[in-house]
Symmetry: C2
Subunit: 119 residues, 2 copies
DNA sequence: ATTCTAAATCGCTAATTAACCATATACCGT
DNA sequence: ACGGTATATGGTTAATTAGCGATTTAGAAT
């Protein structure tokens, strides 16, 4: 129990607002298709902003902004290389979350007779 | 391969926008603290709107609205009982998602020397 | 029917934000 | 220094939405 002092032990029923807010923040990061597309693109290899812009169907400004959001939350890391900036996944846990949502959606889809995705 | 015809098989690299949007929609549902609080409250037992209003610190109108959103997405079911309406979890998978986010946050928190949550 | 209670809906405001265009910054080659 | 390329930022717009108070709808009980 090393961290006992700093550990907040909450009752079974009452859950602190702050905890819910942190959870919500993570979900919110993943609640935009463009950001999910960025994560998916970076899954297997780091890429420069330009590469991402070429792949995703949106403006350079928008890609840059979404990258910043993910970077600011430490989901992505960045490495400058000369003229370009390469982004990489720092938090692979996000893919586990996506996979779990896919399973959830597929479970539902089965009831309608078709399988839909795999990320 | 029963569902082959209706199954969309996508290439390794290109991911349909629609899939990302559906994923994003699920994450968005979970991206508000009030909705997470509702889910947490309902985890162990169905509750009426009134009970939820008494527990959560927000207006009846707001609770009702958030319940509707979760209901419309089939995360919750409702059962009328006389004067009251009871809501219940229809999609327990959401708790798995919350737990995974907690683990993700805890992994990060460990680097700062404290454990934070458990939902 | 009337009253009481429970839940849903309406109208509104304030805050957030994705996406765009235009501009600025920064780095490289010449 | 200068031009070219890559990325970031500023400013704006349009859309979404959480939350509130007020009202409406619906059921229960008298």
């Amino acid at each position: 129990m090393k961290n006992a002092q700093r550990t907040k032990k909450q009752g079974t029923d009452e859950l602190q607002r702050g905890v819910l807010e942190r959870l919500a923040t993570v979900f919110k990061l993943l609640s935009e298709p463009t950001r999910l597309a960025i994560l998916h693109e970076l899954r297997n290899r780091s890429q420069s902003v330009g590469e991402l812009v070429a792949t995703l169907g949106t403006s350079q400004a928008n890609v840059s902004k979404q990258l910043r959001i993910l970077f600011d939350h430490s989901i992505l890391g960045r490495k400058q290389s000369g003229n370009q900036v390469f982004y990489e996944i720092l938090e692979p846990g996000v893919f586990g979350l996506c996979a779990e949502v896919c399973r959830l959606l597929n479970r539902r889809a089965e009831n309608n007779g078709h399988i839909q995705y795999d990320i």
